[in-house]
Structures are given as C-alpha cells and as structure tokens.
Assembly symmetry: D2
Homo-oligomer: 135 residues x 4
C-alpha cells in the first residue's frame, strides 16, 4: 500500500486548481492533513474580502488528502461550511483535519481553517464514501 | 430601494474571483438568480475533473446574488453542497436559486447546478443572515 | 422485488417510536413518501412549542420510507434540518419527500414539513447509502 | 444575568418531551453542556434500533442548553447530524457540547453523542441565532 506522502503527491501533481490557489502541504499522515495558502487579490469578491469559494476550496482539498491518505480512493458525498470571520488579501490560511469517524464505507472529517493570527475563519465538515480501489 | 440588477451589478463590479471564474449573470429578480460559467483546464484537480471548490463557488455566488437582491445586505451563515456528478473541462455549468424560506432575519436557499446536458451536478443549500443595511 | 407498500408496511410494523409519534402514511411510491402526524402536549419543550426533535423525527421517517421504497435497504449517512416556523400543540404536520438525486450507491432527498395552514415549518435534506441488500 | 443552572432549570422545567426522553443534566456552564439518557423500547424503530430522531433530540437539547447558558435567548437556525453507530435498547447516551465559534449574533456548536462504551454514535453540528433578549 502506498504511503500517505506518495498518495498526496500523486493527487497534487498536475492539480491545476490547487496550484492556482498556491496550496502548500505542511503535514500528511493517515487521516491527518495540514495545508496552507496565501490569499491574493484575484481571490477577492466585490467587497474586497475573499470569496467563500476560496476558503471552501482549501478545506475541500484538505478533506480529499486526509481521507485518501489511508490508501483507498474516497469520493466526497456531502460537505458543509460555516464562514465565521472575514478573510482579507494577504491573509495566510491554514486548514487542518480531524477524523471524526471512519468505518469501512464512510469517513467523516472536520476541517478547521485559521488565519495567521490563529483565529478560526471557517468550520467545515465533510463526509466521504470509501471505495475498494487502492491507490 | 435599489433594483436587483443595480445591486448585483454593484456586487459583481470589481469582483475579481467571479471574473476569474468567468461567471455570467443570466437572470436576476428578488430572490431569484441564474448564473453560468464554463469550466476551464485551470479549474481541474489531479483527476482531470473540476475541483469541488469550483462548483461550490458558482453556487455560493448565486446564493449571494439571490439573497441580496431583496435590497438588504445578507451574510452567509452556513452552506452545504453535495456533488452528485463529475464536472469536466469544457462543461457549461448553470446555477439557479430557489428561495425555500425568508423571514425578517434568516433566508434559506437551494441552489441547483446543472451541466449543458441538463444533468444535476450539485445540490447546494445556503442559510443567510439578513442585516438591516440597505444596498 | 417487493412493492413500496410492502416495504413500508414491514418498516412501520413494530416501529414503536413512529407509533408514539402517531405517524400516518398518506402516500408511498418509489422515491416518494408523504406522512402526517398531530402534535401533542407530550411533544412540547419548556417554551410550549414542539421540540426540534419531533419535526426531525417525522422528516427522518419520511426519508427512510422514500429511500427504501425502491427495494434496496438504505442507511442514513448525513441529515440536516432548518426549523423555520414554530410548531404548536394541535398542529398537524405533513412531511413530503423529493428525490434530488439517486445513483447506484447514494441517494439525496429533500423533505419539506408543512403545518395544517400549508406553511413550511422545516426544510430537511438527507443523504443515504444504498446497500445491495434487497427488502 | 441569570446563571447557566438557573437558565437550564427554567428551560427543563415543564419540558414534557425531555421528560419523556428521560434526559438528565450532568454539567452546565457558559457554552458547555453534558446530558445523558437511557434508550428504552419505546424509542426503537422497526429494525429494533433507536430511531434517528432520538439521538437528534438529545443532541438538539444539548445545543439549546449550551447556547442559551450565556444568558441571551438563542434560536436554532440550522442543524446537521451524522449517525455513525447503531443505538440499541438499554444503551446510555451522553451528549456533550463544544463551542466552535460565537459572535454577537451567531453561535456554532458541535455536539458529540457517545454510548456507554465511549463509542461515538453521532456527530451533530448546530448553528443558533443569538437574540438580544436576556433570560
């Protein structure tokens, strides 16, 4: 079975949108992932704050890497996010996963996204379906 | 009170991320919004399908425009999305809103995202807090 | 394969909590279910309105019957509910399902709960895992 | 301002459904609540496992007590629950809250429900609107 690093390198390799977001992998282990990225002017909406889709995207990538790192291919079924603090240009976002539950078929993860002041900016919950396909 | 078109033009104007996504406004009325965009190579992940954040972003923009179009400024509180069909490069996505409920303080919207074959690709639900600030 | 009525009769038979709730089956078809029940004093919380768990319970039963009626046993993975109007003693609640999406493994349903004045009291969304076990 | 205990006693007093559920208050502080209850035969569905509404109800009560304990009246806006393990007759369920975020208007809570073997049976997330009305 491939290691978490091998799996995530395969996933990130040729991942055009993660490159556009500037996502960096900080930590990866079975079920555990930490990512960061820096918010740029291109990620802002008309209010000059980050579009909700930016924070969602980094959290969704964190979910994908954390859930796939066990070695089986996973597909996201349902995700929810609460945006609790505004994100500005120049902010550095860190997304970190917590595995709430994992059975043979279903995994549930909480992803917390903090800014550079260690303030929570969003709380994300994701449910994945675990296939029988190995990486 | 400003018209829905005036409000959404103000919101879209200088919205850098919506421009990057290539979002076009198809219809806007009080509580009703239809948007579309075309999926490009830059929006794909390592599996050569659209990153979940792309579909979320167009749905979240649709929520913002539909909920703000009544004239009061709204803030997203909680959103959830189920991705039900893969989205490929070249697909044309259309997001359309349905106002499930709207009280003085809270609005709830369903946003459906379809592809060019009129297949559902994602189902999104969003809850907004309605402030007392007029546009 | 068993009919939707046969499946739901099997499910409701010896379902002690649905009996306590006083749930009546109004309509059942593949993916479609309508239920009702009457709110009693025992279902109220300290504010003399129905406990959120009552509305959730009727919606969750509606999800179970709608999703299982296709003939394969389904298990709820994730459910969410927004309570949008107070429910009082004596109110008659009707829960009705809409099948948003159904693939081989995953079904997504919206359940709307209305009172006797046809006012929406809650909007519920449920995701189920579809097993290979026939009823 | 009333103490958390005074507020929750007021809420539980004459709460008919919580009495039917047999809910006991184990701990209460500003934003923190622990409850338990024992699953009875009347709470089972046709599969002889606890109806999803039972676990939801204890979690929803825990949300209500945790969020109101700060002294301002709160109303639930949106709640979601994932049922991750079957609950049987005789099981003892414990619901405990974690305050994810609390601003002036919006509070977000995670409620974890465990059985007597300290196994997670459900993960619940709730968002409340904080009114200006003191208890």
């Amino acid at each position: 079975m491939k290691s978490p690093s091998e799996i995530v390198n395969t996933m990130m390799n040729s991942d055009a949108f993660s490159k556009w977001l500037g996502i960096n992998l900080i930590q990866i282990n079975r079920g555990i992932c930490v990512l960061n990225c820096k918010v740029t002017e291109e990620m802002l909406n008309g209010f000059k704050i980050a579009h909700g889709g930016i924070t969602y995207s980094i959290a969704d990538s964190c979910l994908a890497f954390a859930s796939n790192s066990h070695g089986y291919q996973c597909v996201s079924i349902e995700t929810s996010i609460s945006h609790v603090k505004k994100v500005m240009s120049g902010d550095e976002l860190t997304a970190s996963s917590r595995e709430i539950s994992r059975s043979r078929k279903i995994g549930i993860y909480e992803i917390s996204v903090h800014n550079q002041k260690e303030e929570l900016v969003a709380s994300f919950k994701g449910t994945v379906f675990i296939s029988e396909n190995l990486w």
